[in-house]
């Protein structure tokens, strides 16, 4: 089709037929916005990128100290720092993505009210930024494994699958909260609370195996339980068992959250410019 023959129709309530094609056309914007956020974050800081290594590392130290040394929780034949870090990695990814995506539309309000592009680009690129952080702090996990001489078994090949689930969870929750935040600024206060609260109700500092069996399915309603358990399972291999019913429930919830998130976002995005 010749470019000049393109016909665009603007109507009330018309969902744009070319939305996904537009999203593809603006694919460079994902990367450029993510690149901007990464570039800007560490400008005028002294240690720069080292911050994204230092923060998870210190959190890991504290968690190891509190849950292993003081609370004396079991470590399932794996060095406790590795147990903590294999959960901290997906949790921090989720928490950062959730926060950044949730505030992304408000922070880019000016762009939304002046230029057209598929709005999905903004929260998605915020998730991508958090994913880059996730990859960087992944280096700490590798360093810990070398330090303790720990060798993961074949389960590790499943890790990309769990990363994908973590990504879906972050994206789904991020889209929901980003769209809601435009209309209800209450989410400004809800976001930090969810992140703080989630850290304690998710099995980050401890293994979810210590949760009594009869409660485990209920516990898995928190979708991050499935994601974290999956990470642990693939990193710690045969030392832990994956609680399948709970895992399936979590994955189902993540999928639902992602699909409804995209739907709600699509439905509300046409009015963002009027509300923001």
């Amino acid at each position: 089709m010749h470019a000049s023959q393109q016909m665009l129709i603007i109507e009330a309530g018309r969902s744009e037929r070319h939305y996904w094609r537009d999203l593809w056309r603006y694919r460079e914007l994902f990367y450029i916005l993510a690149w901007r956020d990464i570039l800007v974050r560490y400008k005028q800081t002294v240690i720069g990128l080292a911050w994204s290594l230092l923060r998870p590392f210190l959190t890991m130290l504290v968690f190891t100290l509190v849950f292993s040394k003081l609370a004396k929780l079991p470590s399932y034949n794996v060095p406790y720092p590795i147990l903590v870090f294999s959960a901290l990695l997906p949790w921090q990814f989720f928490a950062n993505a959730f926060t950044e995506a949730g505030n992304s539309l408000i922070n880019n309000a000016n762009m939304i009210s002046k230029v057209y592009f598929p709005r999905l680009v903004i929260p998605a690129s915020a998730v991508i930024v958090s994913f880059v952080d996730f990859l960087i702090s992944g280096a700490i996990l590798i360093a810990l494994m070398v330090w303790y001489g720990y060798m993961p078994d074949w389960h590790i090949v499943m890790l990309p699958l769990f990363i994908l689930i973590a990504f879906a969870a972050a994206m789904g929750a991020g889209l929901w909260v980003a769209a809601l935040n435009v209309k209800y600024r209450d989410f400004r206060y809800i976001i930090p609370f969810v992140v703080q609260f989630g850290l304690y109700v998710s099995p980050v500092g401890f293994s979810s195996n210590i949760v009594p069996d009869k409660w485990r399915l209920l516990y898995s309603i928190n979708p991050m339980v499935g994601v974290i358990d999956g990470f642990r399972w693939s990193i710690m291999g045969g030392n832990v068992h994956l609680y399948w019913p709970g895992f399936v429930l979590s994955v189902a919830l993540v999928t639902t959250m992602l699909i409804t998130g995209v739907m709600y976002f699509r439905q509300t995005e046409r009015r963002f410019a009027d509300l923001i």
């Binding site: 016909m7 129709i9 603007i10 009330a12 309530g13 939304i112 230029v115 046409r270």
Partner: protein, 426 residues
């Protein structure tokens, strides 16, 4: 041929909320409103639709219809709140209409602001790529046009400096340079030229004219009538959300003026008088020998034109007041400046000052007059200056016009004076 843009029955409704100052909703309000409405239902179960004083409907645009042909350069004019920005936002797909339909043929780009998404911490180079991507240019295109953008913006030396250290002029130049290199088939421009210095504005206008001449459709919103007149061949006048007039620019611009309180060729200041504590402008008009009432909007090229201003001197001082004005053509070129060469030491009172522009002096175009009273002793002072406050159109009847050679071609120039010539045989 199918129009490039066709707008049918377009409308946009906003709900004004009188309760909260902010546009977003708090869950608290949603809950309390829900409870209130439920309680009202309990009290009056059969009431159909209760009027809610907290929310009022407001139509920013209503029943807007027009077609724009490919290659047209259209100006959209209207007073503040007439719906210009809303129309642009709908055309640019930033917000959706409440009703109606728009059909757009071709790639469309809009420029509602220069430098959207510019980040102050990033360097000029980085911002070019960022802004380009936001406007929908691919990285390959930006790379190809990079040198052109930098040259247009004149910021070669500061490419690797964060833009927060740029002067505001440099910032605007860079931002505009990126946008000017967009290559859409339809370009929508909001009042972005109001920023930047005069020289750069001229450069931008030149670039935009180029865009129009390449057969692209341009939609341009501006408050500056000279800019609209010079840049656009057709115009749309919006008045409280509806199309009041559509047609050739000069006609629409005239309509815009004549429909208001004052005509373009006559203005009476009612509340806002330009001026300081020494002098203030009361009224002004353009007159000819034949037209004295209401101001002469259309003036023949072989008629004498009188510029009349009525002003008030508010204090008895030794200041010598000098009435003066400048005259701009529609291209934004200053055709001439002139002042009263006699010295007047004016006491308190109301004065009328008249200046006669001779016949066979002006060219056939639209002129904009800016009136002023200044004083040069003891210091240079402008007591008032009202830019483009009067305008009139000079037409050339062609028959029997002294300044027209025996041909029908348009004659260039800001003025076309009938000067004294001599020829002697040596």
């Amino acid at each position: 041929m199918q129009p490039a843009i066709s707008v049918k029955n377009l409308g946009k409704r906003y709900t004004l909320s009188h309760q909260s100052q902010e546009r977003y909703t708090a869950i608290r309000d949603v809950v309390t409103n829900g409870v209130k409405q439920f309680a009202r239902k309990l009290q009056h179960p059969f009431a159909k639709h209760s009027y809610d004083p907290a929310h009022e409907e407001f139509w920013a645009l209503r029943d807007v219809n027009f077609d724009i042909q490919q290659g047209d350069r259209i100006g959209i004019i209207g007073r503040n709140g007439a719906g210009k920005s809303t129309l642009l936002k709908i055309l640019s797909r930033i917000t959706e209409p409440t009703c109606g339909q728009i059909k757009i043929k071709g790639r469309i780009s809009s420029l509602l602001e220069v430098g959207t998404g510019f980040h102050p911490e990033l360097t000029g180079r980085e911002n070019i790529f960022l802004n380009g991507a936001i406007l929908g240019m691919s990285k390959a295109v930006i790379t190809r046009k990079f040198d052109e953008i930098v040259a247009f913006a004149e910021v070669e030396k500061f490419l690797d400096t964060p833009v927060k250290r740029y002067s505001s002029g440099m910032y605007v130049r860079l931002a505009f340079a990126v946008a000017a290199n967009l290559e859409p088939e339809i370009l929508i421009i909001d009042e972005v030229l109001a920023v930047g210095d005069a020289q750069f504005q001229k450069k931008c206008l030149g670039k935009m004219e180029e865009v129009g001449k390449e057969g692209r459709t341009v939609i341009f919103v501006s408050h500056s009538m000279p800019t609209v007149t010079s840049l656009c061949d057709r115009a749309i006048l919006l008045e409280s959300g509806t199309v009041a007039k559509i047609g050739p620019t000069s006609e629409v611009v005239m309509h815009y003026y004549t429909n208001g309180l004052s005509s373009p060729a006559m203005i009476k200041y009612q509340e806002r008088h330009p001026g300081d504590s020494f002098a203030r402008l009361l009224s002004a008009s353009i007159k000819t020998g034949s037209i004295v009432e209401g101001g002469a909007i259309e003036v023949s090229i072989s008629e004498q034109v009188m510029v009349e201003m009525c002003f008030e001197i508010l204090q008895d001082t030794a200041i010598q007041f000098v009435p003066n004005f400048n005259c701009f053509t529609a291209d934004g070129v200053c055709a001439f400046y002139c002042h009263d060469t006699n010295k007047h030491q004016l006491g308190k009172g109301v004065y009328i000052s008249r200046c006669y522009i001779p016949a066979d002096f002006l060219n056939a175009t639209t002129y904009f007059i800016g009136l002023a009273v200044s004083s040069y002793q003891p210091t240079v002072k402008v007591h008032f200056y009202d830019e483009n406050c009067l305008s009139f159109n000079v037409y050339d009847p062609c028959e029997g016009v002294a300044t027209r050679p025996e041909t029908m071609i348009p004659i260039p120039g800001a003025v076309r004076p009938n000067l004294k010539w001599e020829i002697n045989k040596l």
